[in-house]
Amino acid sequence: MSDVERQSSEVKAFLDRLAERNVNRGQEPTWIAARRQAGAARFEALGFPTRRDEAWKYTDVRAIARGDFVLTDSAEFSPASAAALTLPIEAYRLTFVDGIFSPALSDLAELPRGVAVLPLSQALAENHEAVGGPLGRLTGVEFSPFSALNTAFVEEGAVVRLAPGSVVEKPIVVQFLSRANAQPVMSHPRILVEAGSRSQATLIEHHVGESEAANFTNLVAELMLDRGAILTHYKLQESPLADLHVASIHVEQNRDSRYTSFNLNLGGGLVRNDLISELNGEGAEANFYGLFYGQGRQHIDNHTLANHNAPRTFSNENYKGILDDRARGVFNGKVVVKRDSQKIEGSQSNANLLLSDRAEIDAKPELEIYADDVKCSHGTTTGQLDEEAVYALRTRGIDEQTARGLLTLAFAGEVMEQVELDAVAERVELAVAGKLPERFNLAGLVEAAMALHDE
């Protein structure tokens, strides 16, 4: 079979699944059906990206293209294991199992006035027109073959609406559980956040699942921040190691809004995140913090883009990567300053730590600047632990392996210390400590940490 034939048969397999699903779907509003069709047409035209596409130069998605994924209707999940996977934090919670909403595992009691958190299916049933406007406004079918595919399959997800001035104290957790299925399942969830002016909220997007699971998640998130809105978005991706995960997160920022993203990727076999912020109003600020830890044959690709479309907008980015074994990391950060967008400040920093000779990192920090009164910088470093720092610890009686473990934790710490939620920070730090190679003397490390803590 030639490449072209194979590619078209891969695309067809997905379109066949869509056709099966459409037969069983009830009557839908015309706009949804039309978009589904447009998404399918676009996906058919584009096919899956290949390494010849610049945006996918370092990421091979054949594992997705060749996978045979089915759709599910069941949100069954063992309550005990769900409880073990859930973040121990007091929160409003929406849970999806392989893309299907699970009321039993969700908790939306006592939402404050002016705040709506609901599954997309419910939002559509209640008032589909209110969803039709914002949905797909930021991420259309043009963005990528995966956004087209998502649009074709769209049916479930999370909708968050914050009325002007509303402040949500408790975080809103959107939890995606991946189940160990007999046949791999795919899901195409959406997250839609409309934050009214001066509203404030914390969104935690949590991907986790049963360790034997091997499903494909293709998520599209659209976050719209009106004037002065403040949104902190944690993406904690701890998917099972055989899970395939593609996500595009589009943020639209109006005047004086502030968006802070923590993109924490620990799991997943093949992970691709596109994070894009459109800084459309003066005074808007975007902070991108990221941490990724790859082991085994994990492949983690982060693409970020800060579009400075208005003067006096600010972006700040700090991504840290740790790669062990044969893991591969990709970092592509881009800052674009449009013409006449003066008085911009954009800084970008990416540091990577390679723990193994067979690990690989491909970094590409880009600047595209069309205005002159700007201060933009980026820095990227890749290397190993500072031998002098290791030595400094050893002179204080800490053995070499423990010293290396501690320094690796400290490397991740630069991003983690920005995290304000203890539950998230602890979870990640423990996971990072747990992932450290045995040669880093984990037991000694924990003891050392305890000892330091006791002092």
Binding site: E54, K364, L367, C376, S377, H378, T382
Partner: protein, 480 residues
């Protein structure tokens, strides 16, 4: 600065713009096998060279013009270009300056670089390329004593076929990229340098290019080989007359450094950038690559790019030998509607290889400039080291500066650092200078020269002076 004055300076004409009227021996525009055979025959090349060219041509036919660069230009009609042009009487090559066509000498006079004086004063051997045929080569004897071969590539193909067979196309393969394939098929001239084992070339080698004769693309091919322990410094400089039609320039430069060899390659490029609307101007699509084949070898690229309407150029180093070193120092200045997509590639293959990249970009007017670089560390490049600094300076709010640095790192013992900044000249810096009685124009010039210092100090003395002057001329009136 008064806006009138500024306007005046911005509208400054290209100083080196003039056309010398020398009848050219030109083939009609178009490219096919017969044109290639014509070129090969005209150059008196052996059969195997023609085959090599035809192979490249057939490769080229299968390829498509690259579109990934951050450049915007209309498609090039390769059938509208004439692929061969030589000053009349190619058989009757002048042996000394006295025999050179007085018109040609006049051309050099107008440029302010009288060839004989310059050559004598600077102690530089000049292989002057006027259009496509080497017109004169000086200091040949002195080089001959040292055992250094410095001649046009055409001569080398005739006189040193074994060396050519051994090295040509081994650094930049025929099918490397679209423009390299085109060059391989139709190259008409260029320089060949061979420095034998243990020899340090007694003088700096230099070639002055001029592009003349309307509608002829210039396809240079340069090959420099340094054997074990040999050293050479090569200078390349260009100016060109004013033109209405775009001129295509697709050169290929190959450098080979064996054990402990050192090649320093410096370029000052000042081709016609087009008029204020970006009309005319040279298209400069160049493939430059150095191969550090031997252990402890070193290749250093230094470039000052001020001209061309479009620059597409990535001087690279393949660091194969153990502990070999690659360096890249670049200043690129764009004004008017110039576009430049330039940078370097450092491919670390051997153990302990090191590379150093300093790129300074200055964009003014309505120009656009991109730094595009690749640092690749292979799995066997233990302890490889790279440092990259790329800074952009923006002058005016209509220009653009972009950086696209690629890093592919596959070795945990490698240490890679990349830093980039983009900014404009600080008001406080200007004020500081002006408060000490320095005019704004001079202050800008000082600051810009300071910004480029790291690169200028890598240039040989002769070039450094010229580079600073060029920089000032290019940026005149861009600030206000």
């Amino acid at each position: 600065m008064a806006s009138e004055e500024m306007e005046q300076l911005v509208r400054r004409e290209y100083k080196e713009g003039f056309v010398t009227d020398i009848e050219s021996d030109t083939v009609p525009p178009g490219l096919d096998e017969s044109v290639i055979a014509f070129i090969s025959n005209k150059k008196g090349e052996p059969e195997w060279m023609l085959e090599w060219r035809l192979k490249a041509y057939h490769q080229w036919l299968k390829m498509t013009s690259p579109s990934w660069a951050h450049l915007d230009y209309p498609p090039i009609d390769y059938q509208a270009i004439s692929y061969y042009s030589a000053p009349k009487r190619p058989e009757d090559r002048p042996q000394s300056l006295d025999e050179v066509d007085p018109k040609l000498l006049e051309t050099y006079e107008k440029l302010g670089i009288p060839l004989h004086e310059r050559a004598a004063l600077a102690g530089v051997a000049v292989d002057a390329v006027f259009d496509s045929v080497s017109v004169t080569t000086t200091f040949k004897e002195k080089l001959h004593e040292a055992g250094v071969i410095f001649c046009s590539i055409s001569e080398a193909i005739r006189d040193y076929p074994e060396l050519i067979k051994q090295y040509l196309g081994t650094v930049v393969p025929v099918a490397d990229n679209y423009f390299a394939a085109l060059n391989s098929a139709v190259f008409t001239d260029g320089s060949f340098v061979f420095v034998p084992k243990g020899v340090t070339c007694p003088m700096e080698l230099s070639t002055y290019f001029r592009i003349n004769a309307a509608n002829t693309g210039q396809f240079e091919r340069t090959l420099i080989i340094c054997e074990e322990g040999a050293q050479v410094s090569y200078l390349e400089g260009c100016t060109a007359p004013m033109r209405d039609e775009n001129q295509l320039h697709a050169a290929v430069v190959e450098l080979v450094a064996l054990d402990d060899a050192y090649i320093k390659y410096s370029t000052v490029q000042n081709w016609y950038p087009g008029d204020e609307d970006g009309k005319g101007g040279i298209y400069n699509f160049v493939t430059k690559r150095g191969d550090c084949r031997g252990d402890r070898s070193r290749i250093s690229w230094t470039q000052v790019e001020t001209g061309s309407a479009i620059t597409w150029k990535y001087p690279s180093c393949v660091l194969r030998g153990k502990d070999s070193i690659g360096e890249f120092y670049s200043v690129a200045v764009t004004n008017g509607r110039q576009q430049a997509d330039t940078g370097t590639k450092m491919i670390h293959i051997g153990e302990g290889t090191r590379s150093y990249i300093v790129s300074k970009g200055i964009s003014a007017g309505r120009s656009n400039q991109s730094y595009r670089g690749l640092v690749k560390i292979g799995p066997r490049a233990k302890g490889a080291r790279n440092f990259t600094q790329c800074d952009s300076l923006l002058i005016g709010d209509q220009c653009g500066a972009h950086t696209f640095p690629y890093q592919e790192i596959g070795n945990s013992t490698a240490t890679i650092e990349h830093e980039a900044t983009t900014s404009k000249i600080g008001e406080d810096q200007l004020f500081y200078c002006q408060s000490r009685g320095i005019s704004e124009e001079d202050a800008v010039s000082m600051i810009v020269n300071g910004f480029c210092k790291d690169v200028f100090q890598e240039l040989p003395m002769e070039f450094a002076v010229e580079a600073e002057a060029l920089l000032n001329v290019t940026l005149e009136g861009a600030v206000g």
